[in-house]
């Protein structure tokens, strides 16, 4: 079986993201970029499934400008076998992203597609579910545990009231939550080795994913603002003062 993993290039989660003063977006100049943390978890899970003998190949895919090849190289260094950069200068909205991946799936025929549950830039949490809809295959979002059996996969999902277990027939789409695993660190020799692994570039237009019509109905995003600051807090210096403050505000 082949596992396809999506990795998105995003601003590193440790960076304090700042909105540009002209409200046109966020500052990206000189900002550290990384693999979306949920995608790193997706990749780690794919590697573990391969190492456990459930899969032969882990294919990583990223959509975006040439810069996202950096993240694909990191993914190869982590242990992916092959990478495809789907090149586009447009920021794809989830529906188009899902259509493009669906078209790639027809070529690659993976048994499992692993994605992050959300990209931490747009926090959309949509692409996996949309892909599953277009592909007409099962989905399990927010995976906390993935157990493979013959022809099916059992996924434990994080839901609002605890954990939910689903059994999906393969092929299937799984999106990852944070507690699924802890991704491995990349070692220096692996970075060297990764340089020799195949990284193919394909223009998304070559996939004929039929995304032209999406442009007319794409969501328009504007007026980027920093969130209102909570201010005016006070510090108290004792538990007595804390209790007095809570009581005077009628909170306890």
């Amino acid at each position: 079986m082949k596992i396809l993993v999506l990795v998105k290039r995003v601003i590193d989660y440790n960076v304090r993201v700042r909105v540009k003063s002209d409200a046109s977006g966020v500052e990206t100049d000189g900002v550290k970029m990384s693999i979306n943390p949920f995608d790193e978890i997706a990749l780690e899970e794919a590697l573990r499934l391969r190492e456990a003998g459930h899969a032969e190949e882990v294919l990583v895919v990223s959509m975006g400008s040439e810069a996202c090849q950096q993240q694909l190289r990191t993914a190869l260094a982590m242990g992916a076998d092959r990478a495809i950069h789907l090149a586009t200068d447009d920021a794809l909205q989830p529906l188009s992203a899902a259509r493009v991946i669906k078209a790639l799936i027809e070529r690659e025929q993976p048994g499992i597609v692993l994605l992050g549950k959300q990209a931490i830039d747009n926090d959309n949490n949509q692409t996996g579910q949309m892909l599953a809809a277009l592909w007409q295959r099962p989905q399990a979002t927010n995976a906390a545990k993935v157990e493979l059996a013959d022809g099916s996969v059992r996924v434990t999902r994080e839901v609002d009231d605890g954990l939910e277990v689903l059994e999906l027939q393969l092929p299937a789409v799984i999106t990852t939550d944070l507690r699924l695993n802890t991704p491995r660190f990349v070692k220096l020799p692996d970075i060297m080795k990764a340089k020799k692994k195949p990284l193919d570039v394909l223009a998304i237009t070559e996939l004929q994913a039929d995304i032209d019509a999406d442009a007319e109905q794409a969501l328009q995003i504007s007026d980027w603002q920093a969130p209102p600051k909570r201010g005016g807090g006070i510090k108290v210096d004792s538990v007595d003062a804390l209790v007095a403050e809570l009581k005077s505000r009628g909170l306890v």
Binding site: D123, A132, A133, V159, E167, Q169, P227, S238, V239, V243
Partner: protein
């Protein structure tokens, strides 16, 4: 005139509070051009009719569509999304709560309808113009949906007060399931450690603990204080990852986004991913032994101190 359909969320025969909050978001849209609000309930067995009654009691709802089918005993996106898509033709807007349930089902429906989803609507600026957070709340943007395109959106539940429930006033219409329900997905079980306290998502007071609690035994301190205050218990990701508390207690970007009147947190540093979950809280109280912890930048009342001394003292003084 907008025609809005709200996907009801429910569990154990009760409509979830998230449904009433989503109705409030729908009402804010409807206000712009005298739109109308329908709620659709997908449920199995006798529960369906009872849930429809509860939905019909929500103020502002014009009609409740009650769709009963054995397959809806457990909400599976693969079953619900095609049902929603089949109804979509009659509506200008389709809304669901931004709970794990809404996030699972609605994008799947959006793709079948052929549109993108507006995730996490926190304010309504117009019939098709919304505000939502990006980058874990570090940016707030305006999102517009082009004319003629079905608006599919999740309502960020922490941003909306629950619609009032009164006398049953909406019309209830039974509808048949219309879509095919694929057999490729099977529900196995739900594992819930659920305590007996109030629900974290809707509690008025939440007492939260972080990594500093250092063990699940120590977390008892947080549970006891919560019990005393009639509060729900929350936690940071670090505390959940370390296994001190179950995952459903996590507050933040990837846990629950909450808006209690009072949020008290102990030994939580205040990472942005945590803060995004509490920015709508009424009053934030932080106790941390590091005076420079970022949590103090957002706390309304801060106390620099050791939680292992502060919590017992609080318990005594609040008794």
């Amino acid at each position: 005139m907008s025609k809005i359909l709200v996907l009801a969320e429910h569990g154990n025969g009760e409509l979830a509070a998230a449904t009433a909050k989503t109705v409030s978001c729908a009402a804010a849209i409807a206000e712009h051009n005298q739109g109308s609000i329908d709620v659709v309930v997908f449920a199995a067995g006798d529960a369906a009719a009872a849930l429809a009654q509860q939905a019909a009691a929500l103020q502002g709802v014009a009609r409740v569509l009650c769709c009963q089918h054995d397959d809806f005993a457990h909400p599976l996106a693969a079953h619900l999304a095609p049902e929603l898509a089949a109804l979509a033709g009659d509506y200008s807007h389709i809304l669901a709560p931004s709970s794990m349930y809404g996030k699972d089902v609605l994008p799947r429906a959006a793709a079948l309808i052929g549109v993108n989803q507006v995730s996490e609507v926190m304010a309504v600026l117009g019939e098709r113009e919304f505000k939502r957070p990006l980058y874990a709340g570090a940016a707030i943007v305006r999102v517009s949906v082009p004319a003629g395109v079905t608006v599919v959106a999740t309502a960020r539940t922490a941003s909306w007060a629950a619609a009032e429930s009164g006398a049953v006033s909406a019309e209830i219409v039974s509808i048949d399931a219309q879509a095919e329900h694929p057999a490729h997905t099977r529900y196995v079980e739900t594992i819930s450690e659920g305590g007996d306290g109030p629900d974290l998502a809707t509690a008025n007071i939440v007492v939260s603990g972080g990594r500093a609690l250092a063990s699940s035994d120590n977390f008892d301190l947080v549970y006891k204080l919560a019990k005393q205050l009639g509060a729900a218990v929350g936690a940071s990701r670090a505390a959940v990852d370390a296994g001190y508390v179950p995952n459903e207690l996590q507050v933040g970007q990837t846990g629950k986004i909450i808006a209690p009147d009072l949020y008290m947190c102990f030994g939580i540093s205040g990472a942005i991913q945590h803060l995004t979950g509490i920015k709508d809280a009424g009053t934030i109280v932080a106790v941390n032994k590091d005076a420079d912890a970022p949590i103090f930048d957002v706390a309304d009342i801060g106390l620099v101190g050791d939680l292992f001394e502060v919590i017992p003292a609080l318990q005594e003084k609040l008794a």
